[in-house]
């Protein structure tokens, strides 16, 4: 694992790069816009894919997000990281899109098997099992708790950043994270798998 200083430096460098890019986008720089788009496309696609299996919807949400980025780049106030600002836009676009479309199975139900064909190495099999175990656990959570965990563990957002993205207080984020972990701890062993065996029945913190 990287040291805290390394991670912080990486995040700072990344944000400085993205701030420069966004300033250029505000002046109509297409190349900077394409760099930002390609940089965020994969993580956003995977984040959205946790909520819908429809590739067309995933593309629609991402493009609606960057349509707003293109038009509103000059209005970015710098109160947050550029990445957090973009994720916040994507989160709202996703909610709007999902509200207007019927729910569909998660992409992971389909993609996991495609990503790891038969005959994979043992470590790959374990990785797949771990991912499947976590995915099934997350599916049991209320949407807000699940999204909080996804924003924290998948998109690497801080407590304050998640509060900004989800438009709530940091205390709410902490509470959602607390209850999500508690529920996962109580339900994951029942889902089986090697990873579940690592969880003992210790009580929650006092």
């Amino acid at each position: 694992m990287k040291s805290t200083t390394d991670i912080a430096d990486t995040r700072t460098d990344a944000d400085a790069f993205e701030r420069d890019a966004l300033r250029a986008v505000a002046h109509g720089d297409r190349a900077a816009f394409e760099r930002l788009y390609l940089r965020h496309h994969a993580p956003l696609a995977r984040f959205i894919a946790r909520h819908t299996a429809r590739r067309d919807l995933i593309d629609e949400v991402i493009n609606d997000t960057f349509w707003i980025v293109w038009r509103k780049a000059g209005e970015f106030r710098g109160d947050s990281k550029v990445g957090t600002w973009i994720i916040g836009i994507a989160y709202r676009c996703m909610l709007k899109s999902l509200r207007s479309h019927a729910p569909v199975p998660e992409a992971a139900d389909i993609d996991t098997d495609d990503a790891l064909p038969g005959g994979a190495e043992s470590s790959e099999s374990e990785t797949r099992e771990l991912a499947d175990w976590v995915r099934r656990g997350l599916a049991l959570l209320p949407p807000e708790q699940r999204t909080t965990m996804e924003l924290a563990y998948y998109l690497g957002q801080s407590c304050e950043e998640i509060a900004a993205i989800m438009n709530c207080a940091t205390g709410t984020v902490k509470a959602r994270m607390f209850h999500a972990r508690l529920r996962l701890r109580n339900t994951l062993p029942a889902l089986g798998g090697d990873a579940a065996q690592a969880i003992d029945t210790r009580k929650q913190p006092s």
Binding site: H41, A45, S158
Partner: protein
């Protein structure tokens, strides 16, 4: 938080996710690590959260070629603003009126306009004999309104008008109120009015320009 005040289980529990995802501050991370050295329960929770973190970032990758989507977005950006706005503002197809209905509305509007015009024309006819206080007065040739004394004879009136170079252009029904005008255009109406007022046998003399309309 100082090293002298070690974290409680609860505080450590709350900080663990942010240590796991790398967004905790250096001090928070140090405090959590210090607590973990002596707390098996929290070490277990830390290990579990590390597993969640690994599980969410492993497998199930959505291999998604960004280039086609990017090309579509760039094409959308290249669309003229007006088109994009009109497309955004366009109602759903099912809400659009059929063409025949739109045509019928246009025909109906033309018919109503013609009917309205005819009504106005009819309504305008009686206006010639009926005037309200708010109606603008009709233009009059009279420059001065003159009310001669009933004792003034016709000869005296004629002499009076001749002396001031005036002629009668209109009068009310019983000729008690006259509208008069100078016989030549360059005449000073105010001066004439002043002279008329000073003439015996004249009850009223006033400029009629603008508001002048001899009562009938």
């Amino acid at each position: 938080m100082t090293p002298a005040t070690p974290l409680t289980h609860r505080e450590t529990w709350e900080l663990i996710p942010w240590v796991v995802n790398g967004t905790a501050t250096p001090n928070e991370r140090q405090d959590v690590e210090r607590h973990l050295r002596d707390c098996a329960d929290c070490r277990d929770e830390y290990a579990l959260q590390m597993q969640f973190h690994a599980g969410m970032n492993a497998g199930g990758d959505v291999e998604h070629d960004a280039q086609p989507s990017l090309r579509r977005l760039l094409a959308r950006i290249d669309t003229p603003e007006e088109q994009a706005l009109s497309a955004d503002a366009a109602p759903p197809a099912r809400a659009r009126w059929p063409q025949w209905l739109a045509a019928a509305v246009v025909v109906q509007a033309i018919g109503l306009a013609l009917l309205g015009g005819a009504q106005l024309k009819q309504a305008g006819a009686p206006d010639a004999g009926y005037r309200t206080l708010t109606n603008a007065p009709a233009a009059s040739a009279a420059a001065i309104r003159l009310v001669p004394s009933p004792q003034l004879s016709l000869t005296e009136l004629s002499q009076l008008l001749a002396a001031q170079q005036l002629r009668v252009v209109e009068a009310n029904a019983d000729a008690t109120i006259l509208g008069v005008a100078p016989t030549h255009e360059a005449a000073d109406v105010d001066a004439i009015v002043a002279r008329l007022r000073a003439t015996p046998g004249v009850l009223l003399a006033e400029p009629a320009a603008g508001a002048a309309h001899a009562p009938r």
